[in-house]
């Protein structure tokens, strides 16, 4: 029925990449969001200030600009770093064994370390292959960093919505802070945070399309190249759109189930 001109398997692979990228970015931004919300609610001025700066900056600047900024800068920083390591190692290795070079290790250990690190830095494919900074990893880092700011705001609101009495009661039971978070704060906070999480997830899912601009072969990229090869661009790009629609519908269903799970024991007003 749907033969996709032989590009079916590639489109499926691209779809898997998109889903993996979205899930990985969701995980990273979730953790950053929890940390950011804790920082915003902490008593330390420094933590509060830096978290506010982070969220204001990220939410005021387009995600594509941040993505390009980080993607190209990360590469340049990485190259600078490997150059620096190379130069340092060269000086170390040129020293005769046994001399002191103001380095905390013995000369023999330094030479051993230097040999290994040089091998790694001078990988034939270039240092960016030796260090895992492919488009996928860059995408996860940048998307996680960007949507961490949105999650920070979501979680901050949700943390504030949990009744103080609940936490006091937990502490009165003798629970340690970790246990209070795990058993009392987190499950109740999730109920208030779920609508926001659902929104952010939909946005992340769609934002992954941007990562094809920095060279990831996700579903959009596959559709584009398939369209160029077969001169049926409209058809293949529409297929990519259909993939996103299906993913949206599936995640809507999953969110509904999660919402039901986290609102167990909540009484709704009968209207």
């Amino acid at each position: 029925m749907l033969n996709l001109a032989g590009y079916g398997p590639q489109l499926l692979k691209g779809t898997m990449t998109t889903v993996e990228l979205s899930l990985a970015s969701l995980a990273v931004s979730f953790v950053i969001g929890l940390l950011g919300a804790s920082a915003k609610l902490s008593k330390s001025r420094l933590l509060k200030g830096s978290a506010t700066l982070y969220t204001t900056f990220i939410r005021g600047v387009p995600d594509l600009v941040i993505m390009l900024l980080l993607f190209y800068s990360l590469q340049i920083w990485l190259n600078d770093f490997t150059d620096w390591v190379n130069n340092t190692l060269q000086t170390i290795m040129s020293c005769p064994p046994g001399t002191s070079i103001g380095w905390p290790f013995s000369a023999n250990a330094s030479a051993w370390l230097a040999a290994h690190v040089t091998q790694w830095v001078n990988d034939p494919n270039g240092p960016e292959y030796a260090l895992p900074l492919d488009p996928f990893t860059s995408g996860v880092i940048t998307l996680g960093f960007i949507y961490g700011a949105y999650f920070t705001e979501t979680f901050r609101g949700a943390f504030l919505a949990v009744h103080k009495g609940q936490l006091e009661a937990a502490r009165a039971f003798g629970m340690k802070p970790g246990l209070v978070f795990r058993r009392i704060l987190f499950p109740q906070m999730m109920r208030y945070a779920l609508p926001g999480i659902g929104n952010n997830w939909q946005v992340i899912l769609k934002a992954t399309a941007l990562v094809s601009l920095i060279g990831l072969t996700d579903v959009v990229k596959v559709a584009q190249s398939a369209g160029e090869a077969t001169f049926r661009t409209f058809y293949f790009i529409s297929m990519a759109g259909v993939v996103y629609l299906v993913l949206t519908v599936i995640s809507n269903g999953a969110l509904l189930l999660l919402e039901r799970k986290y609102s167990v024991g909540v009484r709704r007003a009968a209207l």
Partner: protein, 234 residues
């Protein structure tokens, strides 16, 4: 940083000598897209709340498709996909329209923000207090007068906070225009980067410009909210 500023301050702000570029182009994209979106959304939001499924279902389908797919995919579809059809290439007017990156960009941005705006306006129309509608009907207003005098003014006011959010998101989305060779702020930054290989300064400068525009918009909307939503202030 200084060299980039010296060489690129003019393209970053309004022109590269031939075309409108940078901030002026970004502003034009934002204004035209939001204008199209607003004009689309107002009638569609009313249709979205209709009782007849033949009326609300097409509108729902439109918002579902345009909100469920990435804007980048929509832009690709309109910019590269539509031009592949024979009838578009052979029709002179269509050919002229779809060959221009700027036209395709504005069309896809307008359709996209129109879908989000429709849902925003439809939500606030639906939330209109039933007492206001009853009172208007008791005054003997016709359906059109009811919408023109009571429902629309109050719904647009109540939609303002959410709508301002959508405008900010649209500003962020205009950055995609550079993939269709439209010379907005990001395109100028990209040119500056490919000439100097100084990614941090080139894109950092663009980030600062977008931050300033965002803050200006937020400030303006806060003023507008204080004025138009005065009746909701505690």
């Amino acid at each position: 940083m200084i060299e980039i500023l010296q060489q690129y301050w003019k393209p970053f702000l309004w022109t590269d000598g031939y075309n409108i570029t940078g901030l002026a182009m970004t502003a034009w994209l934002l204004v035209s897209a939001c204008g199209i979106g607003f004009c689309l959304a107002l009638p569609l939001a009313i249709a979205r709340n209709a009782r007849n499924p033949l009326i609300w279902f097409p509108v729902w389908l439109y918002t579902f498709i345009f909100r469920g797919t990435p804007l980048y995919v929509q832009l690709l579809l309109i910019y590269t996909g539509v031009y592949g059809f024979g009838f578009v290439q052979h029709n002179e007017a269509l050919n002229e329209f779809f060959r221009q990156g700027l036209n395709c960009t504005i069309l896809s941005f307008g359709l996209n923000t129109g879908a989000y705006t429709t849902e925003i306006f439809a939500g606030s129309i639906k939330e209109t207090n039933h007492g206001e509608v009853d009172a208007a009907l008791a005054f003997g207003m016709s359906k059109i007068t009811l919408y023109r005098r009571v429902i629309i003014p109050s719904a647009l006011r109540r939609a303002l906070p959410v709508y301002s959010n959508e405008i900010i998101l649209m500003l962020h989305a205009t950055t995609l225009a550079f993939t269709a060779t439209v010379p907005d702020i990001l395109k100028v930054a990209n040119d500056a980067y490919s000439q100097t290989y100084n990614a941090f300064d080139a894109f950092g400068l663009a980030a600062m410009m977008y931050l300033c525009v965002s803050f200006t918009l937020i400030f303006m909307f806060r003023k507008a909210e204080r004025r138009f939503l005065a009746f909701l202030q505690p």
